[in-house]
Symmetry: C2
Amino acid sequence: MDVRTVCLGLLSEADRSGYEIKKLLEDGPLGNFVEASFGAIYPALTRLTEDGLVEFRTEVQDGRPDKKTYSLTPAGRETFRKALAEPISPDRFRSDFLFVLWFAETLEADYLSEILDHRIAEFEAKIARIKSEHDRPEGPGPAFVAGQAIAIITAAKTYLEENRHLIEADSRTRIKTPRSFDATVLGD
Amino acid sequence: MDVRTVCLGLLSEADRSGYEIKKLLEDGPLGNFVEASFGAIYPALTRLTEDGLVEFRTEVQDGRPDKKTYSLTPAGRETFRKALAEPISPDRFRSDFLFVLWFAETLEADYLSEILDHRIAEFEAKIARIKSEHDRPEGPGPAFVAGQAIAIITAAKTYLEENRHLIEADSRTRIKTPRSFDATVLGD
DNA sequence: AGAAACATGTAATCGGTTACATGATTAT
DNA sequence: ATAATCATGTAACCGATTACATGTTTCT
């Protein structure tokens, strides 16, 4: 989803600044599926303003740059409504971690165990974080999305835990044979 | 994972052409987590050759352009080994579908049901496809990755099936009230 | 007859990231 | 003291996608 549409969507819920949009994506459950950097958000809001889809009021602040709070115009609301009806492009799950595991056989046993442990711990942390946010419900859509995130991450974590022996076993036990046998056993 | 490393990795398993690398990512389980277009693969292989990490032999063909079959050089193998030991960047799950569902309340009931049905059917198709490929095992790493793909997609699908009522219910039943009531009920 | 698979490559474009610039306030 | 939060914005860069160019063979 392009950054412009993401901004439009988050502004359809409430008036917000660019900074707040970024934080929402960083901390909230939606951030699991949608990302955007400041360098993308600020220019997007500028263009959206030029196109008459959003407008902003400036709140003067002490010390900091003035805060620009954006709100949707009727045209912006309509554009977003149409964007939601557009064909939905397929999910993209990119994982360098699984690319590395594809070559599990070639990895050192200790390193493999380490990255598996690390990944499982990361998943646990993420689940805990989503659940704590999840407590304060914000409506059916967001709650549903948060639940989906938890379901997916939990499944990934459980799979790792229950099947890691498949890649941690075989060649690795062989590597652990006494040194005198190494040359022969690893020969082929 | 950058395209160069992906090429290196797939060439570490077997000698392959650019076209074959692309097909492998398109059809195989690894494609669920790693993508690359021709426009990225061909230049990557050219640069890898210039850098001495791969080399190729040309197989003359009838009618088609000559097929270039690439193989890793020792330097390429070493570079890949090091790449696997590098810090692994986090997974990125991008989903326009879940972005749309975030705004479930604002969607028309029929449209919402339609995209949910469609998505579930897609998941089923994908699972079936991975399972059929999965039959011919190619080693623990690939089997493990394929299994992880199935686990994740199955969890996503199950979640949709079991929880869709949460977003299909409430405001939607209201919309289905007799026409005479619409203006009042939808007023707020 | 027409689509899909086979096969490589280039060029234009693009959406987005990273880094930089600036600087006060508040929490650790 | 030091890091993090708040707050916006620009510019350089980059990896990658899309579209184009070319042309045969095989499947439907």
